[in-house]
């Protein structure tokens, strides 16, 4: 792999088979459907006006609409035995990695039936059954990923870890320390940087001294690649090599995907600082990929509708379950501090 990506073959000449391609689409649709439902319920009861602490889903809400290709393309290569550590914007990776939607939704709605019995919330989704975790502190999800990788290797398995941050987070010290240590110890980690061009209101050009974090792989002597155009199949291809390297004991890889923040940094963000807003909707990767697949004869309208309906059904089931679940008992607020 090289640090810059040569032009990829046009998706029409995809190296992937039809079912895989439709599968990627299905994952992306499921993610988007989930995020749209959360967004709907987030705003459902914040009034009068907008009070961030109110409603069915209070608190900050960082949605990943537009970034589905990254999660779908990478997680396609994982099983539930592999681990993923994500960021404050974790839903797309959680879903692509197979997290149970019901327990996930219940956590986001703060219910006792949630993954963390309502203790964690949307930035703190922990799922032992898919080895998924995330953190609200920038770049600080990377270091624990090293430990999961260490344990997997120590236990004699070929399980791998995917560790995610944003391009803004890549300027945090933990990024550097983690890449160096993972490279040095040849840990089975795939580092993924989601470059959505923004760290809240700060564009990449104002946060990062180089154009692409893929450049930074050379600092650690590891392969690195920048995937352009938010292209799910290019992500899939690059990730397949990176995951294979990790499984084979050849050490970490750094993948940066140039992706898109379709919505605000968090819900309620009016994005007054953002000059590119008008162009954004046209760059939505889901309709784009749908067009590609239908042009390739893989996705007719009926199938697309069916995928969308299935996603809605699953998501609404999960959301309904969440809403019908009990809130935690305030008397138990002190439980789980210690095991």
């Amino acid at each position: 792999m090289t640090t810059t990506t040569p032009g990829r073959p046009h998706p029409m000449q995809s190296e992937l088979d039809g079912p895989t391609r439709v599968g990627l689409y299905r994952t992306m649709v499921l993610i988007r459907t989930f995020e749209e439902a959360i967004r709907r319920d987030y705003y459902a009861d914040k009034g009068p006006g907008f009070d961030i602490g109110k409603g069915l889903v209070p608190g900050e809400m960082h949605l990943a609409a537009g970034q589905e290709p990254v999660a779908a393309g990478v997680c396609a290569h994982l099983t539930a035995d592999d681990a993923v550590t994500a960021t404050h914007r974790p839903h797309h990776f959680a879903i692509a990695h197979g997290m149970d939607l019901t327990a996930m939704a219940a956590e986001i709605f703060g219910r006792e039936t949630g993954l963390g019995h309502g203790r964690g919330g949307h930035m703190h989704l922990f799922d032992p059954s898919t080895h998924f975790s995330c953190s609200g502190i920038i770049a600080e999800g990377y270091p624990p990923a090293l430990g999961q990788a260490f344990a997997f290797r120590h236990q004699g398995t070929d399980r791998v870890v995917v560790a995610v941050t944003g391009e803004g987070a890549a300027n945090q010290g933990a990024f550097h320390e983690s890449l160096n240590l993972a490279a040095l110890w040849k840990l089975p980690v795939v580092f993924v940087v989601e470059d959505n061009e923004w760290g809240i209101s700060v564009p990449r050009s104002a946060s990062t001294s180089v154009h692409s974090n893929a450049t930074r792989g050379v600092s650690y002597g590891i392969p690195a690649e920048r995937i352009r155009d938010n292209d799910v199949e290019a992500v899939h291809l690059a990730a397949s090599q990176a995951v294979a390297r990790a499984r084979a004991g050849e050490g970490p890889t750094l993948l940066e995907v140039h992706t898109l923040r379709l919505w605000g940094h968090f819900e309620g963000d009016a994005q007054g600082y953002r000059g590119d807003l008008d162009d954004v909707p046209a760059r939505d990767p889901i309709p784009t990929y749908r067009t590609t697949l239908s042009a390739a004869g893989l996705l007719d309208d009926a199938t697309a509708q069916q995928i969308s309906d299935e996603a809605s059904a699953r998501v609404e089931d999960a959301v309904t379950f969440a809403k019908e679940s009990p809130l935690p008992d305030p008397a138990d607020a002190g439980a789980y501090v210690f095991a």
């Binding site: 961030i52 602490g53 608190g59 949630g114 919330g121 949307h122 502190i137 700060v202 600082y273 607020a333």
Partner: protein
Amino acid sequence: MTIIEQPVDTAPQSSHRLTTSKAMVEGIEIEMARDPSVIYLGEDVGAYGGIFSSTAGLLDRFGPERVLDTPISETAFIGLGIGAAVEGMRPVVELMFADFMGVCLDQIYNHMAKIHYESGGNVRVPMVLTTAVGGGYSDGAQHSQCLWGTFAHLPGMKVVVPSNPYDAKGLMIAAIRDDNPVVYMFHKGVMGLPWMVKNARATADVPEGEYTVPIGEAKVVRPGSDVTVVTLSLSVHHTLDVAETLAADGIDVEVIDLRSLVPLDRETILRSVGKTGHLVVVDEDYQSFGLSGEIAATITDVDPGMLRAPVARVANPDTPIPYSHPLEYAILPRQDRIEAAIRRTVSR
């Protein structure tokens, strides 16, 4: 401020009626206009105006040479503030949430706070570290902490915690002019943000122009004779609410807003407890090894006999802050727990 903006208050009012966040900004603005060595740096402090509106309008007025958006590199840019202060500037540096101290505490406590001492007084570090604290809006365990006990425990930095517009402006001006590092901790819930639960006292008349609130002076915000409540920040407001309720029952509560933790105004606390004989501490930080113990010890250092009843501590019960609303409200020191503690204390 970018989060869905709403008009604050449309009733006719004095031209100096400000929210806490606007009062804070006014303090910064006055100092930036007065002293070209004052700069402001941090994440999203430019075009965004600060996630909690701590810098709204500053970029427009002072430009990108003095109001600087940084990369998400707290160690680097807080350190940058330190070095600039050492060379004669007066930087104000924002750590977006106090919860993020863990990625940059070394610069704060081993450098910012110690250089003056290590240099035997030859080097000064006149900088302000602003940071948002507090919960109550379901932001979870990593975005809701107060942590002032941690900052106040580590020597060499002053720590101020305004609870209202007047103090926010006056303490900001005092902090910028102070020749020492000052940590300025503002609770999101006192800022008067249009997108958070409204706090009646988060908008108030504030004098125009410059004035300072002295660092190290607590304030008796409600005189009373039956019980002393020592508190700070958002909890001042919850306590005042409760004091009003209890007044109807004939319980006369004295409320002390600490305003500064370092230096700590022990005199004011002792004077009050000397009068009331009953002490309640309300503290949104973790209970153990923190502020509430220090206030109790302020009495026992001098005369435990002043206390006619146990000291009640209404704090976070050493629990990470839960996301789910009923759980979070159970661990926060809110009106219900404050009222119960005061009633229990005066009944003994």
